[in-house]
Amino acid sequence: MEEALNLYVDGELPLDQQAALFGHLAACPACRRTLDSVLSFRRWSRQEPLGVPPALDDAFFKRLAEHKARHTRIDRAADRRPLWQAQAPVTLRAGLTIAIVVFLLGLFVPSNLQPVPARFAVIGEEELVELPAVAASEPGRVEPLYVFYPGLTIEASKTEEPAPGESL
């Protein structure tokens, strides 16, 4: 009956089920008390004036104006974005260059060194590319180096030379 009572309070109880609810309420003081409480709460909750203070409007429109001013600056920054995009191929080459340098360094690292902790290279203005550590797990052998770059994977091993076209 709790469900029917709640549905009734919310105006969602179908008419053909209301008679059963009222019949139950007539016989069940506990449900009557619940209904009484819920409806009292509803009446009381409507007694509190909850008007928006005028100061809120003032404060909001001030903040909105500040927000718009900031937003305009961001828009201007967005206008310059084609310039960054023009730099993107350069950025890609810089990434390759770093990858090759790290690879070459890896070739000359003495094999008994501790593993080098992961290094971070800042590429371009926003992207951070993690370069994996050059591991030297077995004496006399340099593990293949994998460099992941968005859309680009270089797989290098000891026997391979860096691609001649990709010079600095």
Binding site: L25, R32, R33, T34, L35, S40, W44, L50, F60, L64
Partner: protein, 214 residues
């Protein structure tokens, strides 16, 4: 549900009409403010959250694809802002080593029908403060905002059956909190002393205990 000019306002606003936004703000600031005041039980915190909410509406207007859903979308933003604020407040409170944000006021020892208006308002806030936020929000959205189960489900990212379950549980708790006061009502003003809740005579004629007309 939404009047047609509401929809026009939203479309104009999305097309860049600033006046349409001001109209939407004026139309909905009251309900959003009331929701936030009841959720946060603080008018000053609510003022801040209302501003934050409408700034987000302004900023994210392009994300609203279905203009029918504006009200639900608006209350979803307000609700998330309120929950964030409650988390911040709780963190502060727990840092201060207190259990409750607000001191629990003793219930007035007079029957409900003799309560002053201000006492009733205080009681409502006292009861709301005792409810967990996930019970409180459904009760507020239903009782103050008059949202349908479907709308509450949309706002709280939930299902209709889950909303009903939470709402009904919230009311059960509420009725439990109100029981002592409602009992005093039944017994009249003669005995404020605590008695067993079930001692109230069932046959006593109580105006509020008969179902209201449908």
């Amino acid at each position: 549900m939404i009047p047609t000019d509401d929809q026009e306002l939203i479309e104009s606003f999305q097309a860049g009409d600033e006046f349409a936004f001001v109209s939407l703000y004026n139309r909905y600031k009251g309900p959003v403010y009331a929701f936030c005041v009841k959720m946060l039980l603080s008018r000053s915190l609510a003022e801040d959250v209302v501003q934050e909410t409408f700034l987000r509406v302004y900023e994210n207007r392009d994300r609203l694809l279905n203009t029918d859903a504006f009200k639900s979308w608006l209350f979803t933003i307000a609700r998330n802002q309120c929950l964030n604020q409650l988390r911040r407040t709780n963190r502060q409170v727990s840092l201060e080593g207190q259990e409750h944000a607000e001191p629990v006021a003793p219930l007035p020892e007079i029957p409900a029908h003799q309560l002053e208006k201000s006492e009733k308002i205080d009681l409502v806030n006292h009861f709301l403060a005792q409810l967990k936020p996930d019970y409180r929000e459904v009760l507020i959205l239903r009782e103050y905002q008059n949202l349908s189960y479907e709308e509450i489900a949309a706002v709280t990212r939930s299902t209709v059956s889950a909303v009903k379950s939470r709402l009904f549980k919230a009311r059960r708790k509420l009725a439990g909190y109100m029981e002592p006061i409602m009992n005093r009502e039944r017994q009249g003003a003669r005995s404020p002393a605590p008695t067993a809740p079930d001692a109230a005579p069932d046959a006593a004629p109580v105006s509020g205990s008969t179902p209201p007309p449908a």
